[in-house]
Symmetry: D3
Subunit: 197 residues, 6 copies
């Protein structure tokens, strides 16, 4: 049986890609040991690929009051809300690796109120989900509630923008039928593994 | 009375911005006659500003089977669904200018089923709104329905990605409380005006 | 090209209408400079026309603790919630004229939480929308919350009944496919104009 | 124990009411054997009372392709959707009386898909509920579906307008906390009773 | 005319049933004067029948801080939320009988906020409906709110489990199209009647 | 650090339990290698425990046109819809083991439209989710659609009843805050493991 398709759209060959796009893909392959499908599928359109990952990196790699694990918690909770299999599975793996905790990703993705996280993190996810589901109802009091948990205004921007960015990402994954790599399902569930995007 | 704030976050002064960000802002000011607030408010974070507008331009300026007016229809319909005042008003203006039609923006933003548009455009907006509201339920039949209206696979990506990108944009606007410029409300409602972002 | 239809139902000619219905229509034409389409479309059934406008006038013209602009705010917010293009556009125009403010109608119709209105007006609209969307959940505390903003019991009745009446009106407009007059889109957006129903 | 209040608002005494309002109330009392509370509660505002019942009568008493029982089916189904106890109970009673069938009101109010009604009546109620719940989504095909069941355009107006009118009525009942008369609960459940409003 | 079917599935004859199932059915017939249709319809599968009624009895007959009428209030409120005609009608009858009050069942089933019940009972129904509609959002504070009304932890389990059990029951009734016995509609509406399942 | 609590309610000690309840628990421990928390938490009330597992076994162990893996697919899809962490994780493990496929559980739980399953299984899950989410809207056509995929009437009962039973189960898990055993998260993700309840 042939491998299942990873996208409703044509997936470019590495050698046909612009140099910078190919370099980025090889870099993640080097780090993760495989190429996450989102890189291959979005490379179908290099200009959007560049903007997408520039935005991603600006949010996920910047210095922030949020740890990398906390940022991935947001991603996984939002993926659950948006029924996005790719981000649930792929970022679930990354979250497990960053948090060095094999249960938290499923907990946060299915029901963050049941997760082994701190009250501060629960407030963070409540806000992230409000940004995802009912952003029109955000009022000053929502910002104030996060500040009461010690988040700075810049942290709040981070929480909101990560949620917003993955609302874009989840919709693209659902639009193109993006398939998670099999590797992600198991990653981080047993000790000694390393992150992939 | 002082002018109302355009964002919950600090708005940088032009002279404090990186050269490329300032250049982009001056360019839009030149073209539109004023600086749309989204440029000033997002310049608070230059890295995200660059990625945001790179993504925007990749989608909105590319050669496409969709006219520029059709792309703006998607933006306005999605803004209505997301209760995003900024995009409803600002992109409503741009849509009026591109379509050279003063009623279509309000029609599409409030209820596209009542708009003076073609059946093909109605199918386009139905799909864009499904991407915005229920992207997890998108199936092959949804793509097929658009192809039956003459849309190519690349057009469908455009429709879906524009919807997805403005789902991000709407959430950011709601997060920071982005205020539309007063100019947008009237733009394109009477003859002889020109577009702004 | 012929003019687009204003209703899914036959629109009577003025000369075929009962005297009182025709008189009412001529009166509004005199005042507004044109006949709002709702008058022509509902005249298809004179008995309901009379009751509809009697109810409308009882609510919108009575002495009230609500200004006329505030009453129109309710109408526009409810129209937005009910996806009613006619009332959004027509009453948006009336609101702009009464409020002598060109932005408030779009603000209130798209997202009242972003509007340039007072906290008292925000509480008024929150209640009006609860009457529209979830009236079965109204409890004494909702009334108390409005009284805390200085609304009397009669003001609360006004808020609720205007919301309820336009829930009827919005549904009729959607039922018959009522088309807003082109005039409404621009009315009140620049100084020195006068109201129409 | 004193009788429970029938409204959050003052209920006028019959002798304090304008002659025509009082006459209307006495007429219904004569016919039904008691005064339905909606008459007393809405008499708090005579001008609105007159418009409300004029509208009601225009819809419910006119010659129509819908039987009186069918019109009451619409009222009861819409009351169920709007969580309106008064109309569910009071119009349930009227429906039982008109239909000479003691189960149909509860069936239609709780779940019309389980009711002992004809396919034509099910189509009627599906449309009435769409007018109540999602009127912005009504398209020409919805009208066509009813015509396929033999409904005329005027019948469709009746169905839609009755639904819309009771959306107003349900919201007013919920606003003022209107209490159903105890009499309604039993009316029409055993043979030989007569209707009340 | 033949009697309408009580289920989409075959209804077994009493004589074909296992002894214990038949005995249970005869027992309820003896007590109620008729056999509620749920017994006949579920007897189609004796093993599930036994488990269903064992669960039912464990919850509804146990010693509890909730009266039998209160337990039936939960059932009727949940049936209303789940659009389950059978439980609305059948348990409405049982509630009327237990409460010796002919209005409370319709009140609780249509809108418990309008019912003649105590604040404690309103809190009980609010929780039962949260278990039915949004159980994933239950947090410790919900339990605390009930304890503030004097409910013990075991009472809270009862409230939640009765709601959960009838979520199963409502879905089964809707799955098989279970028809309420005509007797239930009138039961308990006039004095001197006795309960049935 | 002490182990996190598995329930909001007291968890009985094995030695304090009735013989049959203890025997059932020891049996599952023997088979699975550990005691799934649902057994311990529900043993708080032996009578309900017995009925719950009798119902469970009647559905999940009976001869059926559905494979055991298919039945678990229903459980996992419904758990996702009900935000039930326990059933998502525990039955996800069981599904992986039965299906001998490490990805299908996450696929079905997050978005069954993206799962590697057959069209027949997709129809099965669509129906199961309708039973869970909108059972009041089930009509004969829904049954017919399943028969068109080769399901018998008894298979349809199985699908619906499994969905309904786990709607009960999910609500109980959410009510008591039932915590999944850590073992479940990894089970079935790599070859050579065996099922647990």
């Amino acid at each position: 049986m042939s491998a299942p398709s990873i996208s409703r759209y044509p997936v470019p060959k590495l050698e046909d890609l612009p140099e910078d796009v190919r370099a980025r893909i090889l870099e993640v392959q080097e780090k993760a040991g495989f190429v996450p499908n989102v890189f291959l599928a979005l490379a179908h359109r290099p200009a959007e690929f560049r903007a997408f990952f520039a935005y991603h990196d600006a949010l996920m790699l910047r210095d922030s009051g949020l740890t990398k694990a906390e940022r991935e918690m947001i991603v996984v909770a939002v993926a659950g809300a948006n029924d996005c299999l790719y981000c649930f599975v792929a970022h679930g793996a990354i979250l497990r690796v960053y948090a060095k905790q094999p249960q938290v990703a499923d907990q946060v993705g299915v029901n963050y109120l049941k997760a082994d996280i701190t009250p501060r993190q629960r407030a963070m996810l409540a806000f992230a989900l409000k940004v995802s589901e009912r952003s029109g109802e955000i009022v000053d009091d929502d910002h104030a509630a996060l500040r009461a948990h010690g988040f700075t205004d810049e942290d709040i921007w981070d929480i909101g923008n990560i949620s917003a960015f993955f609302c874009l990402s989840n919709r693209m994954a659902n639009l193109i039928g993006l398939r998670p790599n099999d590797e992600f399902y198991l990653l981080g569930r047993v000790p000694k593994e390393k992150p992939a995007r």
